[in-house]
Structures are given as C-alpha cells and as structure tokens.
C-alpha cells in the first residue's frame, strides 16, 4: 500500500478541468473551523469527487494568540501560565518543557526529587492526553460511550492534579528549578490508587474497541504513512512510532532521569490509524509503569527538596519570603525581572503528541530575545493531506482523530 504514497506533495490545488464530465462534478466542502470533527478550530478545504477526497488543504491560525511573542514581551517567569494554554490537554508537560529550556540556558540543576515529581507529572499528563485522544476519536467514529469511559479516568487524574496543584487544568505548577511544592501523602495515596486500578479500567476501553470489527475496519489501512514519509514530514511521537520508527526522546535523548526508569517503547508496523491507536493504548500502560516507579522513588526520598537552591534564578521558599526582607526581594526579582544569562538553548521533551521543544534565546535582559515553540501538532496537521488524499470523506475524521493534535498548540 505504501508504494502509492509519494514523497512530494504539491500544496497547490490541482486545476479543475471543466470539460471533463467527471472532474467538473467535484464539490468543494469547507470543513471547519466550526466543524465538530476538526477538534477545535481547524479549517479543512476539501475537494470531493463523490465521496472521495481529491484535495485537502488544512488552514490553521484560527486560534493564533501570539504565544511566542507574548513570551518575549512578558519575560521569563511570567510565561508559565501561557505554556499551559498551548496544548491544553497536558498543561504540566508544557510547563516542564519550557522550564527545562530555561534551566538549560541558566545551567540550573533540578534536585533529584524535583525531577522525580516532574517525571510523575509528565507521565500522568500523558495518560490524560491519550485518554482524550481515545475519547474524541471514538466519538468521531461513532462509539460515543467510550468517550465517557475514557473521560471518567481522565477525571480521576484531574482530581489528583486538583488535590496537588489546586487546579484541574492549566496548573502552572512548575517553576524554573523544580516544581512549586512537594507531593504530600494524600496525593501519593490518590496516585497509587489510580495507578493500581488504571490498567484494569483501560481493559474496558480495550475490549470495546481493539477487537471490535467495525473499529478495526474503520482504522486498519486508513491514513497510511510509511516510515520514510513519517520522518520526511517530521512526524513525531505516537504518529512516528505508529509507522514503526523506534524514536522516543525519553530513550534517545533522556532528560529528567528517564534513563533510570524501566519502560518499553511500543512501535507500530504499517503506520495506519489502527497502529497509532494501539501505540497510544500501550503508551498509557507504559506511562503507568513509569509513574509507579516514580511514585516508589518519591516514597524513598521524602523530605528532600523539589526546588533548586539558587537565589538568582529560582524562587525562594515561600515560608522564608514571609519572614525575611532579603528573600522577599529575591522573590520579587525572580518574578518581575528574571534575567537569564546570554545564550541560547533548545530543550525538547516527548509530549503526548510528539517532540515538544522550546528554543529560548537570551540577551541577558529580563525579556527573552526569542522564544520558539516546536509544536508537534503543527507537523501532524501538515500531514493530513498526505494521509487523506484519495480516501473517502469518512476516513478524514479517522485520520484527524488519529493524528491527535490540539489547535492551541498548532496555532499557538
């Protein structure tokens, strides 16, 4: 099947030959930006020949809020809440990616426990994000109840995050140098309970979808992308691994001590929607595994610091701020006028969508000279025509669902 795919894809719309009776009968359909299956405000211009899509043009930018420029004008520390709003189904992962880029630039080492907490948060966020993928894709393919089954589990994660960070979404709980506060025992217990029960709950979804003949028929062979094409179109994350490329930043460029955790990277075989689905299902199990190990480590390192001791770049402990004038000044300086050293840094993490990277460049002032966000979602959107051309209109929703992008991140 992959031989029919071509590396080159012309963005220009093929001209309509009005003398050709068949071509003249094509229909332009404007899917989005308010279309229910486009997962936000994606607009797809589709030329239909009957039910076959002969041309797809994704049109992004409806959710553009100028996040990169906002970072440059707000300053280093105040940008954290904005990172939450990039890929809003996994705010903590975005927080951590940005914080790590800043730490790399400033040369700050995050304490061991802080890194473990970060790993825990990242993996739990990944599970939550993948659950949304399962839920929304099932709705797109008509299995509406699965949406609720997956969101039930996601709600549990959000309750835990609520207990820990005080917010369900948009947590902004990561700081340069670590995380804002330590995980308490109540949160540990909640997490433990969730992680113990989750694989079993995942079985419910698995039973309803994986072996389902209709689900299989809707996904198998749909949205094929070969290994070469996946790499050429810079797909990352589950979309790349679904095509059989064993590339995961957690293994290939370990950060936060991922090399010390025991987990596997699931890869697909042919690179269709079904493979990407299976990869994400397995990734949730692996994330659960990592999170369990991280939780064990948290229990062993109780009482250790989660935020680095560095008065120049890192927030001082809140208890001290309330008591000492010096610390209050440090706090004030870090929040309002943090100046990272001159230089540039790029840090990428494996987010639930792929390689989420922050490129930051400092001229030594309190405002970043440049902040570029390498959003995996944008590359995923680019690939829609590659995957969808020549397929049926019904496949488009399966493809959009399986590419799994969040427009907040694509448009930034």
């Amino acid at each position: 099947m992959s031989t029919t795919q071509t590396f080159e894809y012309s963005r220009a719309m093929p001209p309509v030959d009005h003398d050709d009776p068949v071509q003249g009968e094509t229909m332009m359909v404007n899917m989005g930006p308010q279309h229910p299956a486009t997962h936000g405000v994606l607009r797809l211009v589709v030329r239909l020949d009957g039910e076959t899509m002969e041309y797809i043009d994704p049109d992004v930018g409806f959710l553009h809020r100028g996040k990169e420029k906002t970072c440059e004008s707000l300053g280093w520390h105040k940008f954290f809440p904005h990172t939450d709003r990039l890929d809003y189904v996994q705010p903590l992962l975005n927080n951590i990616a940005y914080a790590m880029a800043c730490e790399k630039l400033a040369g700050i080492t995050v304490p061991e426990r802080g890194q473990v907490v970060r790993v825990l948060l990242m993996e739990v966020s990944r599970i939550a994000a993948h659950l949304i993928y399962i839920g929304t894709t099932s709705i797109d393919l008509g299995a509406v109840s699965n949406f609720f089954y997956s969101f039930e589990q996601r709600e549990l994660i959000y309750s835990i995050l609520d207990a820990y960070t005080g917010h369900r979404m948009n947590n902004t709980y990561v700081r340069i140098g670590g995380v804002y506060a330590d995980v308490d025992e109540n949160v540990e217990r909640m997490l433990e309970k969730f992680l113990d029960e989750f694989p079993e709950k995942l079985q419910v979804l698995e039973r309803l979808l994986t072996g389902n003949r209709i689900w299989y028929g809707r996904n198998r062979g749909v949205g094929l992308v070969s290994k070469e094409n996946a790499m050429a179109w810079s797909l990352t994350g589950p979309n790349l691994r679904g095509s059989g490329v064993d590339w995961d930043l957690r293994k290939r460029q370990p950060y936060c001590g991922y090399e010390t955790y025991d987990f596997d990277i699931p890869v697909g075989t042919v690179g269709d929607c079904y493979d990407r689905y299976l990869v994400r299902m397995e990734e949730m199990r692996q994330s659960c595994r990592i999170a369990k190990q991280a939780l064990e480590r948290l229990k062993q390192t109780r009482g250790a610091e989660v935020l680095a001791e560095d008065r120049k770049y890192v927030l001082p402990p809140k208890a001290l701020v309330h008591r000492s004038m010096e610390e209050l000044i440090f706090q004030f300086k870090v929040v309002t006028d943090l100046c990272l050293p001159v230089g540039e840094a790029y840090q990428a993490v494996e987010s639930s969508k792929g390689e989420l990277g922050f490129y930051v460049r400092s001229d030594g002032t309190s405002n970043p000279l440049r902040c570029h966000i390498r959003a995996p979602g944008l590359m995923n959107v680019q690939a829609i025509p590659l995957l969808g051309n020549g397929r049926l209109l019904s496949d488009l929703v399966a493809i959009i669902g399986s590419l799994d992008f969040v427009m907040g991140e694509v448009d930034r």
């Binding site: 229909m27 039910e51 109840s145 049926l392």
Partner: protein, 347 residues
Amino acid sequence: MNPLLRDILVWLVKAGVVYGGLLGVAAGMTLAERKVSAWMQYRHGPNRVGPWGLLQPIADGVKFIFKESLTPDGANRWLFRFAPAIAAVPAMMTVAVIPFGPAVPLPDSWGVPAAFTNLSVTDLDIGLMYLLAIGGLSIYGVILGGWASNSKFSLLGGLRASAQMISYELTLILTILAVVALSGSLSLRGVVEAQPDFWEWNVFHQPLAFVLFSIAAFAETNRHPFDFAECEPELVSGFHTEYSSMRFALFALGEYCAMVVMASLWTTLFLGGYKVPFWENAPWFVCVAAFCAKTSLFLFLYLWVRWTLPRFRFDQLMHLGWKVFLPLALVNLFLTGAAVSYGVDLW
C-alpha cells in the same frame, strides 16, 4: 344501535389507540434514548421535567414549536417544507396493518349482536406488501430534505441515504419473503397465526433470516451503526443540518415511528407477534402485553447498539449489504422455497 355505527366506533377507537400509542411510544423513545445512553455513560439523563424526567418529551415538543423555523437561502422552499412530512407520514401509515392482539369479543349490547374485532387498525390481505411499499417512501423525505437544503453536507447525507436504502431494502424484502414462503400468507395476521406456539416461532425456523432482518432493520431506519445520512462527525447531522423547529422534530418523530414499526414487524414476523409463549389461549390483554414486551425488546436493542458500537464507513456498509447480506438472503430464500415446495420440514 346500528351494527355499522358500532363498527365505525370500534374502528375509531382502535385507530385512536394505535396512533396514540405509536406517537406516545415514539415520544417515549426520545426519552428512553437519553436515559439508556445516560445509564451506559455514568450520567443521569433528563431528570428535571416531571418525575424522573418523564415529561421531557413534552417539554421538547413545546420547545420545538416555539423555535423559529428557518429556511436557508437558496433552499428549494416547497420541497424543503414538504420533506419532513414525507419522512414522518409513511411510518405512521404503515402501523395500521400491524396486528397487536388477537380477536377481541364485543359484548352484546344496545341491541347489537355480539361479535369479534381483530386488534389492528386493518387486516389487509397484502399487509406486508402495503407495509413495504409505503414504508419505502419515507426515504424520499430524507433524500429531498438533503437535496432541498442547499447545503453540501445535507446533500451528501441525502445521497448516502438513498444508496443505503436500496441496498438494504433488498435484503429486508428477501428475508421477509422467506417468512412469507413459510407462512403462506402476505397478511401479517396470517404470519402470526402460522406461529401458534413457542417452537413454531419463525426465529427458530428462519434463524438466518432473523439475523439478516435484524441488521437490515437498523439500516432501513437509518439507525446507528448505519446512520450515514446523519453521521454527525463528518456530515454534521447530514440531511437535517439545516432544519429547525417542528420540521426537525418531524424528522426525529418519523425516525422513531419507523423504529417502532420496524420493531413491531420484527416481533410479528419472527417472534410470534402477539402470541404468548406456552399459553395458547391467553386472554387478549395478555397477548397485547406480550406484543408490547417483545417490541420493546427490539427497541431497546436499537438503543443498546447505538451507544455501544462505532459507525461503519459508507463503502463498508455497501460492501456488507451487496456482497454479504444479499447473497445470504438469496440462498436462504432459495432453500426455504425449495423446502416448502417439496414439503420438507426442515425443523
């Protein structure tokens, strides 16, 4: 009293009961749909209007009436207004031939001699043909609604509906024919009377036809997993995207009425209709209750399947219809016909 007058009165009462019942059940189905889906999805469903949300259909009706009825620019106004009626009326017409109970004795009073009346609005000798002929018309509502809306999504919905209808009506008719061959009657009451006791039910004699009919019934009524005419993720509700107010409600009403009729037909053809298992001379009200119970079974199946399965893709549906169901139904009909004509008792 004139016997003719009594007959007219009886007929009016029966018609009132049947149509009231059909519309009542159709309205109830809208509530049941939400309640069942809610149970399956850890939700409560409607629970604000009336006890247990029971008055929700009425509230919906009132809301629909008060909504503005929009006609999009460029729509074919006449057809656009006409389509919902075409979609809703046939289902209401076909219910007339469904026998929902046995003959009921009419008492000897007012000087009119005692008599019996059959529990159905009418007993046509060609009831099944009438039902299929009229029931097949309802698809015109969907096609015309999709075409007249001047919306591309609606047009696609209408197109899909017409293709789907042709493919599945064939299977449906072929399975019904097998039952007809077995019963030797095109009258629905005749079909019921040919299944006197439990082991004579056609579901045991025609298991393949039973399965095929059950699946084709989903496609015939445009229900999930074959609801391509609507298909909310890609076609944004398809043929009724542009409809609002009571016109939209009529489409929904038509769909639910068609479901009720199809479920009754299913009961009549395969589950012995109003016959009560293992109780040959059951009183008529028990028979009616049995009929309602069997019909609700299939109505529940409609809901159960809808909220469990993913949706087929359109070409998969056609593949299934033409390459799997149609040959199976043909083979089934051929075998049944051969068995009947040579007098072989397959059972």
